[in-house]
């Protein structure tokens, strides 16, 4: 009996130690395997809370801790800034250009280059565009289906700004949070989705 207890205690102790050891090995491997190139500095390997949480395959399979997920979402929600000029809807034509371009933020891009949103990489948006991805949901008729209420407008802004405020492991990049898009670009993408005159809502 006593032996059994000892073995159990040893196993319990060994497990976290083993995983800490594996973590240290992993961290060293990552540090030794990457190098800064252009604007893509080695610092980009540092994870924030959401990235860390969503790097666990068990979490991605739906076995995460809901309380932890909720607290990370809350922190992301709290960091969202609403547009400084109070305007949410820009120019849908400019928004279409942002949605089409998948450029930006790689080591072959310049620091002052204009980023794209790459929206079509993952979403269907305008029916006229046949080359669209399917990682995200279809956004065709986005405003027509959801309406143009203040709630919908704010929700859409927040989603573009920081999708992880709603779904901690959303695959969508946090365009406002990481300054991938400017406020004006986000307003233009908003128009593409929410201007009743945008081809998306015809």
């Amino acid at each position: 009996m006593k032996n059994k207890y000892l073995i159990t205690a040893a196993t319990l102790l060994a497990l976290p130690m083993g995983s800490a050891f594996a973590d240290a090995k992993f961290d060293k491997m990552m540090k030794d395997s990457f190098q800064t190139k252009g604007i893509a500095s080695i610092d980009r390997l540092k994870q924030d809370a959401a990235q860390k949480y969503c790097s666990d395959p068990a979490v991605l399979a739906g076995k995460g801790n809901p309380k932890q997920a909720e607290s990370i979402q809350k922190a992301n929600m709290a960091s969202i800034k609403q547009p400084a000029d109070g305007k949410y809807i820009g120019d849908w034509k400019a928004g279409e250009r942002v949605a089409q371009s998948g450029r930006g933020a790689t080591w072959s891009d310049k620091a002052d280059a204009v980023n794209g949103g790459g929206c079509y990489n993952c979403h269907q948006i305008n029916k006229a565009e046949l080359s669209y991805g399917n990682i995200g949901p279809s956004l065709w008729n986005y405003g027509k289906l959801r309406g143009y209420s203040k709630e919908v407008v704010t929700y859409t802004w927040n989603r573009i700004y920081n999708s992880k405020a709603y779904n901690v492991c959303s695959n969508m990049p946090r365009f406002g949070h990481f300054n991938l898009l400017t406020e004006k670009q986000m307003q233009d993408v908003m128009a593409l989705l929410l201007d009743p005159n945008s081809p998306v809502n015809q």
Partner: protein, 289 residues
């Protein structure tokens, strides 16, 4: 010239259009039309993906990887470097000089380096130890240039000799098991300004970026397709891409810093993909958009 063509050759004549400049005389024994890749049947006719498949089938009979393979075979057999030696005694995993089928068992643990190595890191080891080249120079270099260009051609030669082999990568050695686990962890590691990991795009079946299909590399079927088709000739860039090159560009698009050539992470991720692909068939060098 046309009167020499058999009916079969006439039938597939369109397939040779792209080869015309390198093929002065069409083969008398007209090859049967290249079998269309499996995916062609899956895509509805007229759909843009079907058009891409048609294009692939059209040029599949003349994969420019052939040229890299021939150059690689020459490099393998040519005495070179400060030690003026060939690579014919290089042990890639199935014994010194064995090329046939070896890519299907890589990456694997090598006793002499006490490391798990992929094909490219192993070739660099052989160039260093047998021929006396400086591995650091190759690692600090660029794709398609200098000695790394030679490595790429040798890769094409070695890989082509595993076409049709069953992928059979071992995790028996503790270091192989460890490399697999590190690779799996890296595959799911989210970071950078877009929060991407390999899994963001490659952990669900049936996903696409624009019109580009994304294999689910966490499942055997997808991994066998993905791992089994690389290295490949990239039509869009007009160059042969090794697995290291493929991973380098994945990380670029992931907005990560640059992976160092043949670094442990690149080998670990390769190990994860290869082990997941076990049981599938090697179809490389492939032909990609």
């Amino acid at each position: 010239m046309r009167q020499h063509w058999t009916r079969g050759a006439l039938f597939v004549s369109s397939l040779f259009v792209l080869q015309a400049c390198t093929t002065p005389e069409p083969p008398k024994k007209a090859a049967a039309p290249a079998p269309a890749p499996q995916a062609a049947a899956a895509a509805p006719a007229g759909a843009p993906t079907a058009e891409i498949e048609k294009y692939r089938a059209m040029i599949a009979d003349g994969n420019p990887s052939d040229l890299y393979e021939m150059a690689g075979e020459e490099l393998w057999k040519k005495a070179m470097g400060p030690k003026n030696a060939t690579l014919e005694k290089c042990d890639l995993g199935l014994g010194p000089g064995v090329v046939k089928g070896v890519y299907a068992v890589l990456p694997k643990y090598f006793k002499d380096t006490n490391k798990v190595q992929d094909l490219e890191s192993r070739i660099v080891t052989c160039m260093e130890r047998l021929q006396g080249f400086d591995a650091k120079e190759i690692i600090a270099g660029n794709f398609g240039q200098g000695k790394r260009k030679d490595v790429e051609a040798i890769v094409a030669y070695v890989v082509a000799n595993s076409k049709g082999s069953t992928i059979n990568v071992s995790v028996k050695h503790p270091k192989e098991k460890e490399m697999y686990e590190l690779g799996k962890k890296s595959f799911f590691y989210q970071a950078g300004p877009m929060d991407f990991s390999c899994a963001s795009c490659h952990a669900d079946p049936g996903k696409r970026i624009r019109l580009q299909d994304l294999p689910d590399l966490t499942q055997q079927k997808g991994a066998a397709l993905g791992w089994g088709a690389w290295p490949a000739y990239r039509v869009s860039s007009g160059t042969f891409w090794t697995m290291q090159y493929r991973l380098n560009d994945c990380y670029r698009q992931q907005r990560f810093p640059e992976p160092i050539y043949i670094s442990d992470d690149t080998i670990a991720v390769s190990m994860y993909m290869a082990v997941t692909a076990n049981g599938g068939k090697m179809a490389a060098p492939g032909l990609k958009r």
